[in-house]
Amino acid sequence: MIAGLFTHPVNIDSGSGLLLMLPLLAAVAIVYKAIRVKDIRKLPKEVAVLMVYMVLGLVALGVGLWLVQEYWP
């Protein structure tokens, strides 16, 4: 599998696809805070806080959309 990286696509089942979004969220949080944070020493803490907000927000959005599609007449 390692030899095929960067040449062949990786087989991904639909369940692990959602988990793969977490590193992407981390990258977004890191780069956004890297350009916005006033004191660079506070970067790790601010990235962690932003990530928590993002994950909670996405979970809330997912739950909300599920409720709509489940119970909307």
Partner: protein
């Protein structure tokens, strides 16, 4: 004139170009070195994680032009990815033809794509890997777009270095 008010001049066009061609280089140019390293590592890792997931055809100008446009904003990363996928595509086109049965009424473009995918075989990118791979590489480009704007605006405003240095320079007599 106090040496603390003599900050290096920077050109916003150069800052923007550097920020595009190598993610983080624009911030390095304007004196924000730690942020430059963080940006360089994060955007590079995000882009190449996408290519690792999706394989060599992740950067695909022919069939995914919008994702391709986003990937090109990563500068050298996108250009290298494009070069690799072009080399793979050209190699396939030089090989013998493979006859593929396409349904009646299939558009020529879709028929061509089906033929290319048949040649690619296990290198062809299908769901869900294609979405995730291009999300990684495309989002890396969009993040770099944000960094390009940031570096250009900071340079245009004449700001240089980290925040604490600017505050020290503003104090009467300058900082230590």
């Amino acid at each position: 004139m106090s040496k603390h008010t003599d900050k290096p001049r920077s050109n916003w066009l150069i800052a923007a170009f550097l920020a595009w061609i190598v993610p983080g280089a624009g911030h390095f140019y304007i004196g924000r070195r730690i942020r430059a390293v963080v940006i360089f590592v994060t955007i590079g890792a995000t882009f190449w994680t996408g290519v690792a997931i999706g394989g060599v055809m992740t950067v695909d100008r022919r069939y995914e032009p919008w994702w391709f446009a986003a990937e090109m904003v990563t500068g050298v990363h996108g250009l290298v990815g494009w070069q690799r996928s072009r080399a793979e595509y050209n190699k396939l086109m030089r090989e013998g033809r493979i006859e593929v049965e396409v349904p009646l009424g299939t558009s020529p473009k879709l028929a061509e794509r089906m033929t290319v995918d048949a040649k690619l075989q296990d290198k062809a990118l299908v769901a869900p890997a294609d979405t995730i791979a291009r999300a990684y590489s495309g989002v890396a480009g969009m993040l770099n777009l944000m960094c390009i704007f940031d570096a250009a605006v900071l340079s245009a405003m004449g700001l240089w270095g980290e925040g604490k240095r600017r505050a020290a320079a503003a104090e009467p007599g300058g900082g230590s």
